[in-house]
């Protein structure tokens, strides 16, 4: 398994998550239930370090607090200020590259995005469970259940498509609409806009899960005419035993938000019609692609009246040229920037200082790097991106 880097929160983003009171209090209560004076804890994605420090307040003997982002430096300082520096070991790296000196009694994390199906979250938990946790150890959270419900939300739908359906010049902007309806939105409907009862899409039992991709087909039958605009997806979290929370539209707003997948066009059902929807989440190289199919089956004729298929794969505005350049048979040619990066990497590998590398840049790539400031900036960027810190 390769190393994973969880998509970054900025320090202010960490602050937002840490200040999300219902979430933080639920995690606190879960920790309170399981921590003993002998507890060794590993936290993946410690962020500001607030929960690692709180685990110390609750009596943990040792906390290994892992964080890939630079925000960990603030966490380290906070721990020292609060007197926990001797009990928390901060590790600035992606967890899959980390080895701990002792197994943990408790593994806790919150690496979700809007949904638990987020970047390398599941792979990270699977790896951490296998390598960090004692047999019979406690995991927090224990389980997430993804829920889906079709929604009748004209206001929210208009918000998504209006930039493409309305313009002051009478232009046809349908192409943009095709892109914009193939994206995942962080939008929340009103509870009364839920058109059909929610159904479970997937249950993620973190103690046992091995699967990264989830597909499910759902059916709902209309009892009265109804207009649909998309699907709301949320999750119900169980942190430990009866402690948990939900991001459902009828629950207090949380930092995660809720997901809206818009339909490509407004879908109408008559009484007796059946809505058949299929949702898929596929993890391709650490990023989730979400796909949703919508079919309306006519109640009278039992034929498919509407068939929409959408995927976030097509929502990225990637050009045909870019897709061709990703195909298996394509033979790539280095661009000018590729030549520059290759040269800098080779100079780094030869062990030169940034000053020397900057001079080489000015000598070999003068049009791009006509002065020392620009050359040093480039050399520094490459150093941070590809270098390994060995002290000054």
């Amino acid at each position: 398994m390769s190393g994973f880097k969880i998509d970054g929160y900025s320090v202010s983003g960490f602050g937002g998550m840490a200040a999300d009171l219902p979430r933080v209090l639920a995690y606190s209560e879960a920790l309170r239930r399981v921590i003993t004076p002998e507890s060794v804890i590993v936290e993946i994605g410690t962020g500001t370090g607030v929960m690692a420090m709180h685990a110390c307040q609750l009596g943990a003997r040792r906390v290994y607090a892992i964080e890939a982002e630079d925000g960990i430096e603030a966490a380290r300082e906070s721990a020292a200020q609060n007197g926990f520096a001797d009990r928390i070991v901060f590790i600035h790296d992606v967890s899959t590259k980390v080895t701990l000196p002792e197994p943990a009694d408790i593994l806790f994390s919150d690496l979700r995005g809007i949904l638990p199906l987020h970047n390398a979250h599941l792979e990270t938990i699977i790896d951490a469970r296998r390598r960090f946790l004692k047999p019979g150890g406690v995991q927090i959270p224990q389980r997430d259940t993804l829920m889906v419900a079709p929604v009748s939300a004209p206001d929210l739908y208009a918000d998504v498509i209006e930039p493409w359906s309305k313009n002051p010049f009478g232009l046809n902007m349908d192409v943009g609409r095709r892109w914009t309806t193939q994206q995942q939105y962080r939008r929340r409907v009103q509870p009364e806009q839920i058109a059909f009862p929610a159904q479970a899409w997937a249950v993620l039992d973190y103690a046992t899960l091995t699967e990264l991709n989830y597909a499910q087909t759902f059916t709902w039958t209309a009892e009265a005419p109804i207009t649909l605009h998309g699907y709301q997806v949320w999750f119900e979290a169980v942190l430990y035993d009866d402690i948990g929370y939900s991001t459902a539209p009828d629950q207090p707003m949380m930092a995660y938000g809720t997901t809206f997948f818009p339909c490509a066009e407004v879908v109408t059902l008559a009484a007796g019609d059946t809505l058949r929807a299929r949702l898929r989440a596929d993890n391709f190289s650490g990023t989730y692609t979400f796909s949703w199919h919508t079919q309306v089956i006519d109640g009278a004729t039992q034929t498919v009246r509407t068939h929409l298929q959408q995927s976030t794969f097509f929502g990225g505005l990637e050009s045909v040229r870019a897709l061709h350049m990703r195909s298996q048979g394509y033979q790539p040619h280095l661009s000018r920037m590729g030549q520059i990066d290759t040269a800098v990497l080779s100079w780094m590998a030869e062990g030169h200082t940034l000053r020397v590398i900057a001079q080489q840049l000015m000598q070999h790539f003068a049009p791009e790097y006509p002065n020392e400031i620009e050359a040093m900036t480039k050399a520094g960027d490459m150093s941070v991106k590809y270098g390994e810190y060995h002290g000054s």
Partner: protein
């Protein structure tokens, strides 16, 4: 080009579950989520795809294409069969 005898033009092409398609400029990109692979169709391939996946039979799709384009019937039958065969082997359609 001779038509592939394995392709029965009396059958209907159905897009496989978990395949999504989107038109990008004049081309079509087909994504097979099960195999995590995608395929491109040029403008002509796009039209063949559209007709093949919306007609009651492959024969009807073939007839419609023949009426739309200036192409020899045998040449088209061969090209159309080859495309259908490729789409089947890539898991993008099934014949029913």
């Amino acid at each position: 080009m001779a038509a592939n005898p394995a392709i029965d033009f009396g059958k209907r092409a159905v897009v496989t579950l978990d395949v999504v398609a989107s038109q990008v400029a004049q081309e079509t990109v087909l994504l097979n989520l099960e195999s995590a692979s995608y395929f491109g169709l040029d403008e002509i391939g796009t039209r063949m795809w559209q007709l093949a996946t919306t007609s009651a039979t492959l024969q009807q799709a073939y007839d419609a294409f023949l009426a739309e384009y200036d192409v020899e019937a045998d040449q088209l039958r061969g090209d159309f069969s080859t495309l259908i065969e490729k789409l089947i082997s890539a898991g993008l359609i099934e014949l029913q």
